[in-house]
Each structure stands twice: as structure tokens, then as C-alpha cells.
């Protein structure tokens, strides 16, 4: 037990900012181990109490360590964003993928899970979650708050590459709150709980965002992270493509508009599409060169569009003709092809823009 707690504590200490960790973590682990050994003799409850107290002290310590590191970096003038040409960690990839799979994955899985729950005897719990969280208003709100926590962390860390999926999903929430999205698309948004600006939660969506930004400024006392964001984008335009990739998820999944309810057999395919996009995001984060990054995005976008178009085309071909020619299978396939071209241009737009700007600013008349 003692060894397990010490290992867990050491793992938590590893999350501290690097400077503080290098200076104190080894020593803290030793002190913690001795402390736990001493308390264990007094019984399990004392051990548990001490362990909880130790855990409660860590968030405050993290903030203090973070501010200390920030101060040192300011003094040495070496605040830089996570360099885009450095391969990001698996942890960063995991964090980046969360907005892509977290919300839609849960909404899509809600029905299958509901059927599975009686088997494991958790029906009452799941029904409670279903009514109060998954399909009611709190679900988008909880997810939005998680996105804002991501934004705060991204601000404090100078907008590393994982943060761009959070930014794009925040944009989706904001324009959904302003009532723009439902004008040109998409029953899909309503299917997953974003019901447009008439929704009281979405109408007040700016308030927590502003509070988060104020909190970030309070911690940081500077707007340097915004500069880091801009510098990061200038250094690596694929970051803009990555941000657009987050929005792309909605566009791809809107192929499944009009499919009656998330409880159909098409849920499986929607999950596959989400997984393909997540793999693309991980590929982007882990790739070392720009070409590899762009290939990961374009590859997964192309595969997910092809899959969505094919699956929905097959679905509508088996449907009665009374649904009309607009949603016939062949037209779905054609629109898929057109959409693929649009998406490729969409993802390549930052590259083209960057090339055009380079050309504009670097070409000089020969004297």
C-alpha cells in the first residue's frame, strides 16, 4: 500500500513545472515516503487522512511552482511557446484529441450504453445521468467548461499545439450561441444537444469565456501568450489547418443529418468516423515535419469523408423514394466528392495563404 501511494505521489510530482520538479521533486518524494511510513503505523484512517491532505496541497503548490517558473523565465527573457517543429508527447496528443472524441463520443455512445447498463446492473445510475447530464442541458455546459479549462491551461502554457482543437471547438460553441450555425446547417448540432441561440445556456456563453480570460490575465499579468499564439502560427501554418480540422468534424458528421436519431445502426459508423479523425489528430501531433502533419490531416479527412458519404449513400438507397431525390444515394456520393475537394482546399488554405504572403513580402525588384 505504502509503495503504491508513494509511486502515485511521485507520478503527481512529475506533473509539476520542470524547474521546480528538478529542484524539489526527488526530495519531496523521500519526505512523503517517510511521512506515509510513519502515519501507517497509526492505522489506515490516519494514512488515508494524511494522503488526502497531501493531495489537497498539490494544486496550490502547482500554481506556486508555475508562477515561480514564469518569473524565472521572464527574468531570463526566454518565454517561448512549445516549438511547433518539436515532436509533441503522447500526453499532448491525448489532450488534443479530447475535444474531438469527448463530447460526440459520449452522445453517440449514450444509447448503446443505456442498453448495456441492465447487464451490469447500473440502470438507475445511467438513467439519472441520461436525464440530467447526457441529453439535457448540463452536457454541453460541462463540456464547455472543460474546453474553458483547456483554454486557461493553453494560455498559461503559451498556446501549445494541442490547444488548437480546443480553440476550434470553442469557436463552434460561440457561433452556435450566436445562432449562426443553425442558419446554414445542421440538424446534427441539435442531435448532439447544441440547439442554437434560443437555448439559454448558449445565449450566455460569452460570460464564462470572458471570466476565463480574466482569470488567465490574473495569473499571468501579460498578453504574451497571445503573442506566442501568433508567432506559433507564423512559424508553422499547419497549426491553422489543425484548428480548422476541429471544425471539420462537424462538417463531416453532418453527412449523418436527417438520419433518424442516434440510436440507429449508423452510430457505429459515426464512431468510426470520429475515431478516424482522432487518429488524424494524433498523427498531426506526433509528426515531426510539416508535410507529415498535413498528410495526417488530409488523409484522415479524406477517409472519413469517403466513409461518411458511402455509408449514408447506402443508407438512403435502401430508404423509400418518398424521401425525394435530394437525399438519394447517388447525390450523396456526388456531394461527398465535392465536399472532399472543398475540405482539401479548406485545410490547404493556410498553406496557400502563407506561401502567398511569403512571396509578397520577400520578393523585391532586382536593382
Amino acid at each position: 500500500m505504502q509503495k503504491l501511494l508513494v509511486r502515485f505521489y511521485a507520478w503527481l510530482l512529475y506533473r509539476l513545472p520542470a524547474g521546480f520538479r528538478d529542484e524539489f521533486a526527488g526530495e519531496m518524494e523521500q519526505v512523503f515516503a517517510r511521512r506515509i511510513l510513519e502515519v501507517e503505523l497509526r492505522g489506515r484512517w490516519s494514512l488515508l487522512r494524511q494522503f488526502v491532505l497531501e493531495l489537497l496541497a498539490l494544486p496550490g503548490l502547482w500554481l506556486l511552482a508555475y508562477q515561480r517558473q514564469r518569473r524565472v523565465l521572464k527574468m531570463t527573457g526566454s518565454i517561448v511557446p512549445e516549438l511547433p517543429d518539436r515532436q509533441a508527447s503522447w500526453a499532448a496528443a491525448f489532450v488534443a484529441v479530447f475535444p474531438l472524441v469527448g463530447y460526440i463520443g459520449l452522445v453517440l455512445l449514450a444509447d448503446p450504453l443505456r442498453h448495456f447498463m441492465p447487464v451490469v446492473g447500473l440502470t438507475a445510475l445511467f438513467d439519472f445521468l441520461w436525464v440530467n447530464v447526457i441529453r439535457a442541458e448540463p452536457m454541453p455546459m460541462i463540456f464547455y467548461l472543460l474546453l474553458l479549462a483547456g483554454l486557461l491551461l493553453a494560455w498559461l502554457k503559451g498556446f501549445p499545439c494541442w490547444s488548437f482543437t480546443y480553440l476550434s471547438w470553442l469557436v463552434i460553441f460561440l457561433i452556435s450561441g450566436m445562432g449562426i450555425i443553425p442558419v446554414f446547417t445542421s440538424p446534427y448540432l441539435q442531435q448532439i444537444g447544441l440547439t442554437g441561440f434560443k437555448d439559454p445556456f448558449l445565449r450566455r456563453i460569452w460570460i464564462p469565456l470572458i471570466l476565463t480570460l480574466l482569470l488567465a490575465l490574473l495569473f499571468d499579468h501579460s498578453s504574451k501568450p497571445l503573442r506566442s499564439l501568433w508567432l506559433g502560427l507564423r512559424k508553422d501554418w499547419t497549426l491553422a489547418s489543425f484548428a480548422l480540422f476541429g471544425i471539420l468534424e462537424f462538417m463531416v458528421l453532418s453527412f449523418f443529418d436527417e438520419v433518424p436519431g442516434p440510436q440507429t445502426a449508423l452510430v457505429f459508423w459515426q464512431l468510426v468516423v470520429v475515431a478516424l479523425l482522432a487518429v488524424g489528430a494524433v498523427g498531426y501531433i506526433r509528426a515531426r515535419v510539416k508535410v507529415g502533419r498535413l498528410a495526417a490531416l488530409l488523409g484522415s479527412a479524406a477517409l472519413s469523408i469517403a466513409l461518411s458519404a458511402s455509408v449514408t449513400a447506402y443508407h438512403w438507397q435502401n430508404y423509400p423514394k418518398s424521401y425525394g431525390p435530394v437525399i438519394e444515394g447517388s447525390s450523396t456520393l456526388l456531394s461527398g466528392l465535392l465536399f472532399l475537394i472543398v475540405v482539401i482546399l479548406f485545410l490547404l488554405a493556410p498553406a496557400l495563404l502563407s506561401a502567398a504572403m511569403n512571396r509578397l513580402f520577400t520578393s523585391r525588384p532586382v536593382a
Binding site: 524539489f24 526530495e27 519526505v31 511521512r35 496550490g60 503548490l61 506556486l64 515561480r68
Partner: protein, 115 residues
């Protein structure tokens, strides 16, 4: 720019006890915990995180310093000891004097009102 005594004062209880624990001799982290527990008669018990948060702040303020020494038990892994700096000691003396003045004033006042 380092803060003046006036800006540091009054010290928090944590800071006061840590500085006080280091007056007699240098100590490592766990020894500080134990000494503080003894000095406060078991009233102040730090968690590891609280202790090292305070130690890092005191190091930054120049009130304590850290000395590394080879640990004979674990070769290649230096052991850290913390010790009071001169300004740390002066800070502690100033705080103790301030507390004594307050205590004297309180005792005098209470004695007068009780008489």
C-alpha cells in the same frame, strides 16, 4: 528587487516556524517537519507540498539557503540541507521582537483590566 523586512512582516505561521526550526542547525526537509511539529506542540503539521512551497518561497526571498552534501547512505545522490541566511535570522529576530511587543502590550492591558 528583494523585499524589505517591513514588506515581509508579519510572517505567516508557516514561515515563522520554518525559520525558527532552522535557528540551531541546518536541517533537511523531513527534520524541519518534525521540529515544527514539536515547536508548535503538534498544532502545526505541514503536508509535504506545503513545506516545499514555503521552502521554495523562502529560498527565493533569500531568507534561507540550501546546501547539498553527498549522502553516505546513497552514493551519487546528494542530500539537501536548509540553513538560515543572515537576513533570515534578522527577519526572525525582528518578527520575534514584534510578537513580544504585542504580547507585552496584551499582558499589560489584560492585567490592568483584571485588577
Amino acid at each position: 528587487m528583494p523585499k524589505t523586512f517591513h514588506e515581509h512582516s508579519p510572517l505567516t505561521e508557516t514561515t515563522f516556524y520554518i525559520l525558527l526550526s532552522l535557528t540551531s542547525e541546518r536541517k533537511h526537509g523531513y527534520a524541519i517537519l518534525k521540529v515544527v511539529e514539536g515547536l508548535s506542540q503538534g498544532r502545526v503539521i505541514f503536508s509535504t507540498g506545503t513545506l516545499y512551497g514555503a521552502l521554495s518561497r523562502l529560498l527565493d526571498q533569500g531568507l534561507i539557503e540550501c546546501v547539498e552534501e553527498e549522502d553516505p547512505a546513497q552514493v551519487g545522490r546528494p542530500r539537501k540541507f536548509y540553513t538560515l541566511t543572515r537576513s533570515g535570522r534578522r527577519m526572525l529576530e525582528a518578527e520575534a521582537e514584534r510578537l513580544m511587543l504585542m504580547l507585552a502590550a496584551a499582558q499589560q492591558r489584560l492585567a490592568q483590566s483584571g485588577a
